[in-house]
């Protein structure tokens, strides 16, 4: 059963002659444990798709269903609770709060959801440990490198019992080594059952996904169907993949 489903989702801004169709009739579904990349050029609608999938924005028409529940049938409070408990966001520019330490940034969503400060702190430390960042827990964002900041952002997105991870150009301006670390972390979250959607224009980032969906002018135009890794890629190497 799909964990996230978008059914004929459209989104328009403005009206009349200035109306812009950011998304048109997008159908997309993903299972728990899967990593889907949405690839397209700037202005293709991929970021809008992500914000609608994460209930940060309402579609003009169509339906978003998360874990069997249609967002349109939820109250504002229910949606806010869903966002706090189940959905983690990773943005290109990290969006960490400068006045909070790494662990405070990570544990903040749990505290906002009513968990005690102590329990939230422990969960935050555990999430940072998972990403090999426990020794940076007390550092403020401006004391961290770009790669570390993005890892903190990922820790914040997966802390607690999140089951949907939505990432918008998660490697941002990071170099390719740090981008790979970021994608390995997102993949590790998927292996634990998280459903992750990454929107990007970067084919190397997208190639970590199980499925790559191509979007152009607000429409899904194509998607990859990756065959099993052929041994022809590697002459004599015993191929132990696929891992998923």
């Amino acid at each position: 059963m799909s964990y996230l489903e978008l059914r004929r989702v459209s989104k328009s801004y403005g009206a009349g002659p200035t109306e812009v169709h950011a998304l048109s009739d997008v159908d997309l579904s993903m299972e728990r444990g899967s990593l889907v990349a949405v690839m397209g050029p700037s202005g293709s609608g991929k970021s809008t798709l992500l914000t609608i999938a994460g209930s940060l924005e309402e579609p003009t028409s169509g339906e978003v269903v998360i874990d069997g529940a249609a967002l349109s049938s939820m109250s504002r409070n229910d949606k806010a609770r869903l966002r706090r408990r189940s959905v983690g966001y990773v943005f290109q520019d990290f969006n960490l709060l400068a006045g909070l330490t790494a662990v405070e940034n990570v544990s903040l969503p749990l505290e906002l959801d009513g968990l005690s400060a102590k329990k939230a702190h422990l969960a935050g430390i555990a999430a940072l440990e998972e990403l090999a960042l426990a020794d940076r827990a007390a550092h403020y964002p401006d004391e961290l490198s770009g790669g570390e900041r993005q890892r903190v952002a990922i820790a914040r997105a997966i802390v607690g019992d999140r089951s949907l991870l939505l990432a918008d150009e998660p490697s941002g301006a990071l170099d390719s080594t740090n981008s790979e670390v970021v994608m390995r972390m997102i993949l590790a979250a998927c292996h634990r059952g998280v459903a992750a959607m990454v929107v990007t224009h970067d084919a190397q980032l997208a190639s970590w996904a199980d499925r790559v969906v191509f979007i152009r002018d607000g429409r899904v135009v194509d998607q990859t169907v990756p065959p099993p890794t052929p041994e022809s890629l590697v002459a004599h190497r015993p191929v132990t993949s696929p891992h998923r």
Partner: protein, 192 residues
């Protein structure tokens, strides 16, 4: 790829047997490029003919197998090759570029659709290569370098397709250019 220089590089570490060279060549290229025994011995014969390597028999120790050594001339040739950039001045006659250019001329064909077919194929290939590096434990340094090289090569083609897609989209919205076509060719020729 220069098998000749790759073998010289392996021999720069010390004397080696032919079969050993084949095995080390494949390991050293992440086992992505297979090399048959015939290729190894033909190349070694040519290297010996050109006095870039020498051989001797190890007699009792290793049966009748020949051991190969690099000569001073071979070492000099290797050093020169390592620091000589490959000739990349001429654009390669790339089949994909030609297909996209040809699609522009064919009535009733959407160049965007043609581009997308190739983009999808390349991204699928990249997914396969990326899967090979998912398991870090099975991902040694030489293999990592080869996989990275392949991913960057495929990525550069995807980027070109993306740029071509965007350029064509913009061109469709703008009036046709009045600049003469041969200008670019003249500039390219002038730069050579």
């Amino acid at each position: 790829m220069s098998v000749r220089h790759a073998l010289l590089a392996l021999l720069s570490e010390g004397p080696k047997y032919g079969l050993q060279l084949r095995q080390e060549f494949e390991e050293g290229t992440g086992e992505v490029w297979p090399l048959n025994v015939g290729q190894v011995y033909t190349t070694l014969q040519r290297l010996e003919r050109d006095e870039l390597i020498e051989s001797d028999d190890r007699g009792e120790e290793a049966g009748s197998q020949k051991v190969f050594h690099i000569t001073a001339a071979g070492r000099k040739e290797l050093d020169t090759w390592l620091c000589t950039p490959p000739d990349m001045t001429e654009p390669p006659r790339d089949e994909l570029v030609i297909k996209v250019l040809a699609a522009l001329r064919v009535p009733g064909v959407s160049v965007h659709d043609v581009i997308q077919v190739h983009r999808r194929y390349l991204v699928e290939l990249m997914q396969q290569w990326t899967r090979l590096k998912e398991d870090e434990a099975d991902f040694d340094l030489t293999f990592a370098l080869v996989v990275d090289a392949e991913l960057f090569r495929l990525d550069s083609v995807v980027r070109w397709l993306d740029t071509a897609d965007g350029r064509l989209k913009r061109a469709a919205l703008e009036p046709p250019s009045t600049k003469p076509g041969p200008l670019i060719r003249r500039r390219l020729v002038a730069r050579r």
